[in-house]
Symmetry: C2
Subunit: 314 residues, 2 copies
């Protein structure tokens, strides 16, 4: 449904023109969406932490990216690909309902060239303490409804100029299992189902990174979820309940062909019993803004797009 | 007045203990401060942009740091030390009153080992279009008053437990010139005057990075400012009016012994007339939280401190 070359993104680069009212409309939508997020999570009594950019340990991700690390005084520090491991430590360390962080993530993509990937992007990362997947999913449905409602009301003029119509999501959202979708549509099921749906929906039970909780009663099934946009816009949020016990984490790291010693700093907390049950997820800000403003390419949601395989101008 | 070894920061690391209510109190203060900031800047009609982490060009800073860069597909990308250059481009590109960004900054300090330096920290970066230093300073005084008032009212219990008393700042804040302070106190004037003062104050007219505006009527004087905390807590915000004309920028880069070609991506905008007059500044979030919660070391404001010359645990 959606297809564009990176040239069209570059053509709209700021270096070739004076002010462009399209960007101001997009950023006003972004500003309202962010305010809706902060207001909502404040009312839910979450505390806001600041992001971590450099760390001896980070998310291994579920797809290949180039290494991004620097050295400082004999220590190799990786640029964080997500806040997941730090979120688990933080949510266990604090006697609060949960935490959230607006954090930039760096992912130097090797193979992913789509209309929804950037080399760096911002993610709203939320983690709730001792909370089930269902509770988290329910909170996210409320959050999305809040964001959509606020933007639809406050930014009606901006949306009209951008040619976007916001449809308030019906709750509860539909839930699909990844296994049944795979059976029905084959490997490209995420794109297929997103093209078909008219409203936000969930897909559950993905076999992916070690930290997402494996169903202890049904090995090979996972208590995790992705929130999807309809109309071909695909992933909005990715998350799950978390595994937190040392032996389980080590086993799952090994099963994925990864090396537990790469996660020493994090596993040290697990070994000492300093992790706890939690559920959470990460919502991509640029993808949210892209959906709200109905942009073809995610690079259009920023003045400084970092598109895979494309020269960065500024 | 304030002096501590990094050991005391590491002792409070999360890896050695279960939940610590001190951190929750600190993060509740941080959450209120951030909400006050977003609410205030929203009412001032600024639009919020997302941070940029990797760029061919970044702030040269006014003090030595180790290089922090990575490579992606034949392009060297630096970790941004501040958003200043991108802010200038963005504020010129948008027909808005101004912009703001909550952005992590990476500064691999070489020589700075103080109670107020971290290798990475978050900065509230604001830039107002076609605005004078006086107007920006006045807005910042209102912002600080808003933050202090909200935290004092909403977090009274947290502040009591932390042993912090917040004094609402009297406006207008006092203004000192760096030259008169240098004459009175010598090289260590920033620390001296911060120890003596009981309330927030400004210091103006610093000869520093090329982008701060040099007074066209009085060469060697600069239309810039730092906001300072009292009681020895020192810098809160650093900013200024900006130079934006190509010839002026190139001359000032050369005068500072820097190479204009290192700033090609940015200077390209100036050459095309795509920069404009503006004023702004960056407010360190961790320094703000440190002052509000009266912490000895800035590392105490985060669960994951990155203290210069100290091993990063997680």
């Amino acid at each position: 449904v959606i297809n564009v070359t990176t040239e069209s993104v570059l053509k709209s680069s700021t270096s070739t023109r004076k002010t462009d009212s399209k960007y101001l409309d997009i950023f006003r939508v972004q500003t309202e969406a962010l305010l809706a997020i902060h207001d909502f999570l404040y009312r839910e009594e979450l505390v806001q932490l600041m992001p971590v950019l450099l760390s001896p340990v980070t998310d291994p991700l579920n797809h290949p990216v180039y290494d991004a690390a620097i050295n400082y005084k004999d220590q190799e520090l990786q640029l964080t690909k997500s806040m997941i491991l730090h979120k688990q430590v933080a949510v266990a360390a604090l006697d609060a309902r949960g935490i959230y962080i607006v954090s930039p993530n760096i992912r130097l993509e090797k193979d992913l060239h789509s209309n929804r990937h950037l080399l760096e992007f911002s993610q709203l990362d939320i983690e709730l303490k001792k909370t089930s997947a269902n509770e988290f999913m329910s909170m996210m449905e409320s959050l999305m409804a809040c964001i959509f409602r606020r933007v639809k009301i406050v930014c009606s003029e901006e949306l009209e100029r951008l040619g976007s119509e916001i449809h308030l999501p019906k709750r509860p959202f539909k839930i699909y299992s990844s296994l049944s979708l795979l059976e029905e549509f084959g490997e490209g099921y995420e794109s297929e189902i997103s093209n078909l749906e008219k409203d936000l929906f969930w897909i559950t039970d993905f076999n992916r990174e070690f930290y997402d909780r494996e169903d202890p009663d049904e090995r090979g099934h996972y208590i995790n979820y992705d929130l999807f946009y309809p109309e071909g816009y695909q992933e909005a949020l990715s998350g799950g309940e978390r595994d937190y016990e040392y032996e389980v984490l080590v086993r799952k790291i090994r099963e994925r062909g990864q090396n537990p010693s790469d996660f020493d700093a994090y596993l040290d907390y697990a070994k000492k019993g300093l992790l706890c049950p939690s559920a959470g997820g990460g919502l991509g800000i640029e993808r949210l803004v892209r959906f709200l403003t109905k942009r073809i390419h995610i690079g259009e949601t920023t003045l400084f797009p970092r598109v895979p395989d494309t020269k960065i101008l500024m």
